[in-house]
Symmetry: C2
Subunit: 345 residues, 2 copies
């Protein structure tokens, strides 16, 4: 797909994702109410995401001497939570597609989609409680605390982003974007998966804050690339409507850069466009905003910021993983940093 440059990354992602999904199988067994709940549980997980989160968790655990098995239930829980987040996120954003197929709420209706994700969030706690049998009470407690912080940070990030959209906030800076993305994305996509992996791998002996900077930079770089792909990728690869973020009025780094660099007339027109409810926005206007993003080099700017973040992340990597001996898992984590910004889907 990307030549052989990311062979280790892609193979490792695929393998650990498969293990995480297998670990989730017991929770995906068909039972009543099937049609309105349990048959829907595996739908998003089975659509084939990248599996970044379980892979970061398992690989970090192994890099610090832990077994694959010891991290599996935590990795699986994070993956299930991620899929629950996506269902509510798609509804909140009014997204039409997820991973190439219609979003959950468009298929089953809003009420059942909201409830499904609620059930998935609750069910994701089961493997974390079951950790107790193999990891003991102390680690189980610490992992649960990590997960709670993860979920509340994610909700805070969502609140900020949704609030910006609802109130049509247009005076945002890159620093606002970084803070929102730290909360919305970085904690649950990178920071906590690494922290939890290290917690398990080291049996609780490592100080976990060492991973925060490394995984924060990586997480924000990941989100910027995600937003860039939303703008430029082809539909068949990315599985979302192209420019969907513009339709949704999402405060991406590109939109924030545009608002801070366009002329006053353009800014007032963009602001008026963003003030419309989504269904009143028109394709011509979306294309016009996209054209302005090209005119003001917003995409190049965002890509450059993402690269800078990736470079910083790699510097932090050498500190965060210093005490881990060389291994494929450690190399995977190092190489995934550039994968985050060079991936095409």
């Amino acid at each position: 797909m990307q030549g052989n440059k990311f062979k280790l990354v892609e193979e490792t992602l695929e393998y650990y994702k498969k293990l995480a999904l297998e670990t989730l199988q017991p929770y995906f067994q068909p039972k009543e109410p099937r049609k309105y709940l349990y048959d829907l549980l595996p739908v998003y997980p089975n659509r084939g995401g990248k599996g970044l989160r379980p892979a970061l968790c398992i690989a970090t655990c192994r890099a610090f001497g832990g077994s694959t098995h010891s991290a599996l239930k935590s990795a699986a829980a994070i993956e299930l939570l991620h899929n629950a987040f996506l269902i509510h996120d798609d509804l909140q954003d009014g997204s039409d597609f997820r991973r190439g197929l219609p979003t959950m709420h468009t298929v089953v209706g809003m009420p059942i989609a909201v409830n499904l994700a609620d059930a998935m969030s609750a069910i994701s706690i089961y493997p974390l409680i079951e950790n107790r049998d193999t990891l003991g009470g102390f680690l189980t407690h610490d992992i649960l605390t990590e997960i709670l912080h993860m979920v509340t940070q994610t909700a805070e990030g969502q609140a900020i982003e949704l609030g910006w959209m609802r109130d049509n906030v247009t005076d945002l800076t890159d620093a606002d974007y970084f803070r929102m993305t730290l909360k919305k994305t970085a904690w649950y996509t990178c920071i906590h998966p690494c922290r939890i992996g290290a917690l398990i791998g080291s049996g609780g002996s490592l100080s976990l804050d060492r991973f925060n900077q490394f995984a924060y930079f990586m997480g924000v770089a990941f989100q910027i690339q995600d937003d860039v792909l939303n703008l430029v990728a082809e539909y068949s690869k990315y599985g979302k409507e192209i420019g969907g973020d513009i339709w949704e009025g999402k405060r991406t780094m590109m939109l924030i850069h545009l608002l801070n660099n366009c002329n006053p007339l353009e800014k007032s027109k963009i602001t008026a466009f963003l003030a419309l409810p989504r269904e009143k926005r028109e394709a011509d206007d979306v294309h016009w905003v996209y054209g302005l993003m090209e005119k003001y080099d917003c995409i190049d700017y965002a890509r450059a910021v993402a690269r800078e973040l990736a470079n910083e992340s790699l510097k932090e990597f050498t500190i965060a993983y210093a005490s881990a001996p060389d291994s494929d898992d450690k190399r995977f984590i190092q190489q995934i940093v550039y994968y985050m910004i060079e991936r095409e889907l």
Copy 2:
């Protein structure tokens, strides 16, 4: 309010609700993002529900020899979860009012309301994890397991009810209603609060299944009374639009009884009414359905079923609480059974 008949019940509810809300205060401290998240957290809890769930939990704990303090965090967690459920429930049902004021999603918009309840659900787990400091690892683990069962059962019940409405299911029996209400209401309103209270009060020595029948009968009786009040209570007392359940097409015991007892022409007209999206239903039709419910004695029928359930619950009470010595808490639990079906709000 109801003379002195339920003086003990009402005073006990008020007192334990107050304690549960005080226990939640540390989680309600203002912090960022305030406007889009944390300032909204206490809104539903502060609107003054009855506090049934924390009261059942604390009173059962005390009835079996435990302290108020030992049950507080669990009782508070259940109350916060309840309020999170309400926010999603109001959205799913398209309800306009909750406790006399506009529902959360009508005030802050759907996206922020969905996210708020997600945050509240996550935050409710904190006090449960903090139990470890005072109750130890074993009880904390068992309480968490109870809570997970509680949340998943509630989601199953919601799924069934929402599915019936979405697919306009009209061939339902009382048994279907009992099963749905067991899941949607009884587990989280009565069964688990009692079980968790007993778990803490007895230090884990009681078999908890003894509470299932008692609290199941009470929980379904409670829900029937809730639905009856929705039909007949005055707006000012009940705080919801009158007949809101008919507007929403909710499968109450009254609607199920009506569908099973009206004539074929009426049934086909009711079915057509229920097939409409909510916003297309008209006041005249709602009143017509209400009139049919009167014609076929649906409300009297539902009240009679609720009374029968309350009688059964009281029989089970003597078994479930046999080993608890006489106390105000035990008397409160006994008396709350009839309160469930005689309350006027």
